[in-house]
Structures are given as structure tokens and as C-alpha cells.
């Protein structure tokens, strides 16, 4: 497997005066280049701490994180790592630096010291990639939450990273904004080959991912394709995650003796599964 990020036996400890609290415990993980990975977990599962380690914002207490073979602990290559792995946070308001959309998107490439014409090209491309080109001269505070978050994504995309790590980018958005962000991410993944690592606690955002990792108490407790993860209703519930309604329905049907396949994810598939089961009953 060609990994863009390798996490090797990583532990991260927070120190608060005398007490030491491990947010991530001896965790290992490989992120495949070009993949779409979703990391699920409830609050306090260590998923945000892990996310911030993927681009060197947090340095592991022990173990190593390698980005394209570069250790994030090496201070001389810090910029290189952040250039390869871009990071988007929860609150779009706290990520936007300039009062004009295109000037904000230009902030990253400007920091890289690129030529003005090259910055212009990247800014235009990034804004087109998130479908916000028409808003390039607007001011961010007049935009909706979903639009602002797309500007934040464009700001990272303008640095032309290979991988995008998003730490609960939809947590503060309304359903429309959430849908905008998720479809933007899938488009970046399929059209531009950007590796996506999406951290969330919304189960339905994981539906179309290549791989779902479930975290609890600083450890990985499940790692598989969405269908398999979602059919494991018992595990998901035990770590306080909501299960998609279809999975839950099929799971209880099966528990009560109906011959259904719990791997069906979409409403359509689930309906077909239930009809099939009812026919076979007759």
C-alpha cells in the first residue's frame, strides 16, 4: 500500500499540572494515497488530537508520524509537512484571515513566497474547485456557514496539498451546508485525487467513504468499509455513536429472526432487502 501518512505506535499525553491524561494511546494507522477515510468517534475519543498530529500541529509524546516519509518531529521540515497535509477546522470564522474572499485564499500561497501570477492561478483554481469563484470579491462575513467553510477549504487547496485533514468541518453547519461540504470533499477526492481524512461524529457522512475508522478512548476499535462498520450496530452503540436509521432497522429485524442482510446502507438497498425478506417469508 502506498501510504501518504503513517502513524506508528503513537501516544499523545496532555499534562495538566500533576495529572497526565493520554488522549491517544499506542495507535498505529496507515492512510493510503488518494483514499477517502472517515474517522468516527464521540467527543473525547481522541480523534481531534489524532487529526492535529497528522500535519505536525501536535507532536506525539511517543511514536512517530511520517508524512510522505518525513517525520513530523523534524523542525526543519515543518513547512514541508504542512504544505503536503492541509488542515480544516470546525469553525470557519476562526480560519479566515482577510476581509475579502480571494485575499484570504491567497494567504497560504503568499506565505509560501510564490510569484504573484502563480498565486493568482492557484487562488482562481482553488475557488473554482469549491465552486465559490463567483464570490471571490465578497466579504466572508456576508456568506453562509457552508460557503465560509468552502472558502476555508479553498484557502488550504490553494497551497496544493496532497492530503486534506478535516476536523469536524460540518459540526457548526446546517444540513444544507453539511451536504455542500461533503459533496465538495468527494469531488476533490475523485477529480483531483486529493487524499481526504474526514473526522466527524455524523455517521451519514461516512456512507460514501472508502474506509471508516471508529475511535474510542484513544484507540481504534473498528477499521473497515462503511457497510461492514454500520452493520455492527452493537459496537457503534457501545461507544455512544448513532447508527444510520436503515442499519438500525435491519439490525432489529435480523435480531427478531428476519433473514435480512444488514450490510444494506442506502434507503433503497434497505427497502429492497426488506421486500426480499418479506417475500421469502410468504
Amino acid at each position: 500500500m502506498d501510504s501518504i501518512i503513517s502513524v506508528r505506535n503513537v501516544t499523545y499525553e496532555y499534562r495538566e499540572e500533576e495529572t497526565v491524561y493520554a488522549a491517544v494511546k499506542d495507535l498505529s494507522l496507515e492512510i493510503e494515497r488518494g483514499s477517502f477515510t472517515v474517522i468516527l468517534g464521540h467527543n473525547g475519543s481522541g480523534k481531534s488530537t489524532l487529526a492535529k498530529m497528522l500535519n505536525g500541529l501536535n507532536k506525539p509524546t511517543s511514536g512517530d508520524v511520517l508524512v510522505d516519509g518525513i517525520n513530523t518531529k523534524d523542525e526543519s521540515t515543518e513547512i514541508e509537512v504542512k504544505r503536503k497535509v492541509g488542515m480544516v477546522f470546525q469553525n470557519p470564522d476562526n480560519q479566515i484571515i482577510a476581509s475579502i474572499v480571494e485575499e484570504d485564499v491567497a494567504f497560504g500561497p503568499e506565505n509560501l513566497g510564490l510569484e504573484p501570477s502563480e498565486i493568482r492561478r492557484r487562488v482562481d483554481n482553488a475557488l473554482k474547485a469549491v465552486d465559490m469563484y463567483d464570490f471571490r470579491e465578497s466579504t466572508p462575513h456576508r456568506l453562509s456557514g457552508g460557503q465560509k467553510q468552502r472558502i476555508a477549504i479553498a484557502g488550504i487547496m490553494a497551497m496544493e496539498p496532497e492530503c486534506l485533514v478535516l476536523d469536524e468541518p460540518t459540526a457548526m453547519l446546517d444540513p444544507k451546508g453539511r451536504a455542500e461540504i461533503i459533496s465538495t470533499l468527494h469531488r476533490l477526492n475523485s477529480d483531483k485525487g486529493i487524499t481526504i481524512v474526514l473526522i466527524t461524529h455524523y455517521m451519514e457522512e461516512a456512507e460514501n467513504a472508502d474506509r471508516v475508522i471508529v475511535m474510542n478512548d484513544g484507540k481504534i476499535i473498528a477499521d473497515n468499509v462503511p457497510k461492514v462498520i454500520f452493520s455492527d450496530v452493537k459496537t457503534l452503540k457501545s461507544v455512544g455513536l448513532d447508527v444510520p436509521q436503515t442499519a438500525e432497522l435491519l439490525y432489529s429485524l435480523k435480531e427478531n429472526g428476519f433473514p435480512v442482510d444488514t450490510h444494506a446502507l442506502s434507503v433503497k438497498e434497505a427497502a429492497a432487502e426488506i421486500i426480499k425478506a418479506m417475500r421469502s417469508e410468504e
Binding site: I79, M87, I97, E110, N111, I119, T139, G155
Partner: protein, 268 residues
């Protein structure tokens, strides 16, 4: 209520003054103020007045907006006028106690008031025709020679602070409004009572606002780090400011006016 506050006073239009390079506008403002203060007779002052009025006309900004700025400094203007009345020589017109108003004093007072008025109009012409962002860039660019005396990072830091402050003003206003509504819903009375009571009522608004600003600042710093921000060193800019032919024309007009003021001063 708070939404009415607009920061900066940019007035959208496409006039010649709007399109003039912001750096040039800033420098010309300073130069013109100096020359207006040098004007010492009726003719040179008349030329200054004429020039400022034509700048206002060309800027396409409504006169009402200029007058609005005037209103704020009216007390200062009147105070300066009154003080100047008593300084000056010439024929005494009125005298009481130890003070006397002379013809020279009246002349002085009128001149001072006209100068201050022109100064306000001219600075308003700059802020009405230049966006806060352009103004920040102009200041950064004009202060950039300071890098030769080892102040490069200071200039960059100042400009970055201004950019971020401008960006966060609307966000913090929105937040303050939310907190005020939340406190009102809990029965806080912000509008009535004595001044001390109203000031006290502000404390439960300012403290949450301060805490949330610190949290925002922390998150912003992380986001900036993720975008490879490393201070001003090696940074380039997407938007480059270029001096255009019309900027030279504007410069020439201003130079002629300044020369005119000096000539009229000497000749009459």
C-alpha cells in the same frame, strides 16, 4: 443596534479619486495638509479651499457624508476659533478684563477654522474613497523602508494586526449582540438606570466576549500555522500595487496646487 456601526467609511464608487493608488493618496494627503497650513494670505487660502472643494466634487461622495464628519469635531473647531480670537495684533475692537479681540485675532481665528475644516474634508476624502484593506496595504508599503533600520518584522506585524482586526470586527459585533440578547433573556437591563448601573450591566457582556476572543485567537493562530504562516519573512503578495499614468496626473495637479499656494504666499 450594533449592526449600524460600520467600520471604516468606504463609500462605493468608481471616481478618479477612488482609483488613484492608495499609497499616493496617503502621501498626497500628508503633503497637502502641510501646504494648507503654510497658506497665510487670503489668496493662497482661497486656492486651498477651491482645491479641496474640487477634490470633494470629483470623489462623487455625497456632501452630506463630509458634513457628518464635520459635526463630530464642531466643538473642537469652535474652541480653536475662540482661543485664536484673543491672539493677534492690530486694531482693538472689543476689550474686557485682560482680554481683547483685535482685527488680527479675527483673521487668525477664521484662518485656523478654515484650515481645520479643510484638513477634515481632505482626510475624509481619503477614507471615503479607499477600502480599509487598501489603506492597510498602503501603510505597510509606505512603512517598508523601515526594514533598513531592522524594523521589517514590526511593519509586517502591524499590517497583519490591522488586517485581522478589520476581519474580526463584524464577527465580534455579531457575537456581542448574541451575548447581549442572552443576558437580556436572563433579565439584564442594559438601557435603563444610572450611568454607573449601565456600566456595571456591561461587565457580564464584556467578560464572555473577551473569553471567546481569546479562544478565537488561539484557533486562528493554529489555522495560520497550518497555512504555513511564518511571519513576514519570504512572504509575497498576490495583489501588487502599480503606479498608473493617471496617478502621475493626480500627482501633477497636486504639485501645481502646492506650488500655487507658495507663489501666492510670496507675491501678495
Amino acid at each position: 443596534m450594533l449592526k449600524d456601526i460600520t467600520f471604516g467609511q468606504y463609500y462605493e464608487s468608481r471616481s478618479l479619486i477612488h482609483r488613484t493608488d492608495p499609497r499616493l493618496k496617503t502621501v498626497l494627503l500628508i503633503a497637502l495638509i502641510v501646504f494648507i497650513f503654510l497658506a497665510k494670505n487670503a489668496l493662497s487660502m482661497g486656492l486651498s479651499v477651491l482645491f479641496v472643494l474640487s477634490v470633494m466634487a470629483v470623489s462623487k461622495v455625497p456632501v452630506k457624508l463630509y458634513l457628518k464628519n464635520m459635526k463630530a469635531i464642531l466643538p473642537v473647531l469652535i474652541f480653536t476659533g475662540i482661543i485664536n480670537l484673543f491672539y493677534g495684533e492690530g486694531e482693538t475692537l472689543v476689550s474686557f478684563w485682560k482680554l481683547e479681540i483685535t482685527t488680527g485675532g479675527i483673521y487668525r481665528a477664521v484662518f485656523m477654522m478654515v484650515r481645520i475644516t479643510l484638513l477634515i474634508f481632505l482626510s475624509s476624502a481619503l477614507t471615503y474613497t479607499t477600502t480599509p484593506n487598501d489603506l492597510t496595504d498602503a501603510i505597510e508599503s509606505l512603512l517598508s523602508p523601515l526594514r533598513f533600520v531592522g524594523l521589517k518584522s514590526a511593519v509586517h506585524t502591524l499590517a497583519m494586526m490591522m488586517t485581522i482586526a478589520l476581519r474580526f470586527i463584524p464577527t465580534l459585533i455579531e457575537e456581542a449582540e448574541k451575548i447581549m440578547n442572552a443576558q437580556k433573556a436572563r433579565g439584564a437591563d442594559l438601557e435603563n438606570g444610572k450611568l454607573t448601573e449601565r456600566v456595571k450591566a456591561l461587565i457580564p457582556i464584556l467578560i464572555p466576549l473577551l473569553i471567546s476572543s481569546v479562544r478565537r485567537a488561539y484557533e486562528l493562530a493554529e489555522a495560520m500555522e497550518c497555512r504555513c504562516y511564518n511571519g513576514g519573512e519570504g512572504r509575497t503578495r498576490m495583489k501588487q500595487m502599480h503606479i498608473k499614468p493617471r496617478d502621475f496626473a493626480v500627482l501633477a495637479v497636486c504639485a501645481v496646487v502646492c506650488g500655487g499656494i507658495i507663489t501666492l504666499n510670496i507675491m501678495f
